[in-house]
Amino acid sequence: MKGEPQELKLTVNGKVYELKVRPKTLLNDVLRKDLKLTGTKRGCLESTCGVCTVILDGKAVRSCSILAVQANGHDITTIEGLAKGDKLHPIQEAFVNHGAIECGFCIPGRVMMAKALLDENPNPTREEVRLAMQGVLCADSGYVKQIEAVEIAAEKMRGGE
């Protein structure tokens, strides 16, 4: 039947959710509206800005460009899943301490992008950091401090200073 709600079982930030969604529902809407995880932002809705970026099975994806039903059975991490209680993830800490956050709207998507990068490649070159940051638009920072923050986080995560 057209629009018939489909069963959806998702693991988000380690927690299993079972719900029913209409097939055309975007993953972004399920996260924000159904699961109330508004940390992931809703931006352009046309697959260009990247503020909706989350991690799915360890890979960074645009949640506005995936039907929720396609995420069925998959493992998703959003910005809310990074900090452990009061303790921020090293990437979050680096962004805060290095002054890389301004209006903050692109930050959740950007931090998830950085996490996906560093989980896969703990010692990225600057070029690789730039390539990762290319997927999330910012409107105000000039990207410099953000690129540097990712590098600082990478070093910390590798056990450096």
Binding site: K2, P23, T53, A60, V61, R62
Partner: protein
């Protein structure tokens, strides 16, 4: 976006069954990185959507020294980009993927989905044509192999029957002393090329004469365009700068690129000359190395 009836088959047979049942009114969605954009814009509103993303059997990448590469249609761009097999034996595919959109798109979007979308500005089609690839298409009743260069029919139209599905991309082992390169004109990293070129050059070992050349243009026509006349200029000769220039001119003259906010037809024609040369020089260098 309009509502639709949704199916998530687990096997190829199941999908082909559904396609056969709803042919014409059904659309297959793989990664959806091209399709969702047009669906959200209201340009596409299928009654039935067959989601094949979950068919793990179509997600594979194998290599055989004689048979060459076999890529399952649901292999993601990112998997191709990062595959050690690809990087070793078909590096040009990895290079092309590195420049394709952004990492998020490549993580979920599939090579099959990209090819079936049929965008003449797309990079994979042109590179696969240069590689002399073939596509395996399947329906319930039959299976056929189509040359990559015969797959695109028109803007966003491909050689797929309503009950057919792309299942595999087959890339033969290039002969020795073949070099392949892909270059495209980007303003920003990850842009669709204002124009793009994939060039394959095969040299005769010893005297360095060009035995075969393939020059494929993207965003230069309504389909990925093989510049056959330009290829002829190179074949049978020892390639030099003059010949490269001439090949570029001929390729440009035979192209009919669009005019849009990124560039006029005239500018694209000029750029075709530049990029045919750039890709050819790189291909030639690689061919010489063996």
């Amino acid at each position: 976006m309009k509502d639709f009836e949704y199916f998530a088959p687990k096997t190829v047979e199941e999908s082909l069954s559904l396609l056969s049942q709803y042919k014409g009114e059904a659309k297959i969605i793989a990664g959806g990185q091209s399709m969702l954009v047009v669906m959200r814009q209201g340009l596409l509103a299928p009654e039935y959507v067959i989601d094949i993303k979950g068919i793990t059997a179509l997600d594979y990448l194998t290599y055989d020294e004689r048979e060459g590469l076999r890529i399952g249609a649901l292999t993601t761009h990112r998997a191709i980009e990062k595959s050690p097999i690809i990087q070793k034996h078909f590096r040009v595919l990895s290079e092309m993927e590195t420049n394709l959109a952004t990492i998020q798109t490549r993580n979920w979007g599939t090579i099959g989905g990209n090819l079936c979308h049929g965008d003449p500005a797309g990079d994979p089609a042109s590179v696969l044509i240069a590689l002399n690839a073939k596509l395996k298409l399947k329906s319930l009743s039959k299976e056929r192999i189509v040359e990559m260069e015969e797959f695109s029919m028109d803007l966003l139209e491909v050689n797929l029957e309503p009950d057919e599905m792309l299942v595999e991309i087959q890339v033969p082992v290039p002969r020795t002393h073949t070099g392949i390169a892909h270059e495209k004109l980007m303003v920003m990293q990850g842009d669709a090329g204002i124009v793009g070129t994939a060039v394959s050059i095969a040299l005769k070992p010893g005297d360095g004469v060009c035995e075969d050349a393939r020059i494929v243009l993207s965003n230069a026509a309504s389909v990925p365009l093989r510049a056959i006349e330009a290829e002829k200029r190179l074949i049978g000769k020892v390639i030099n700068d003059t010949l490269l220039d001439e090949a570029g001119q001929i390729a440009s003259a035979g192209a009919d690129p669009p005019s849009d906010v990124h560039g006029s037809t005239e500018y694209r024609k000029e750029m075709i000359k530049v990029f045919v040369r750039r890709a050819a020089i790189k291909a030639l260098e690689r061919a010489k190395k063996g």
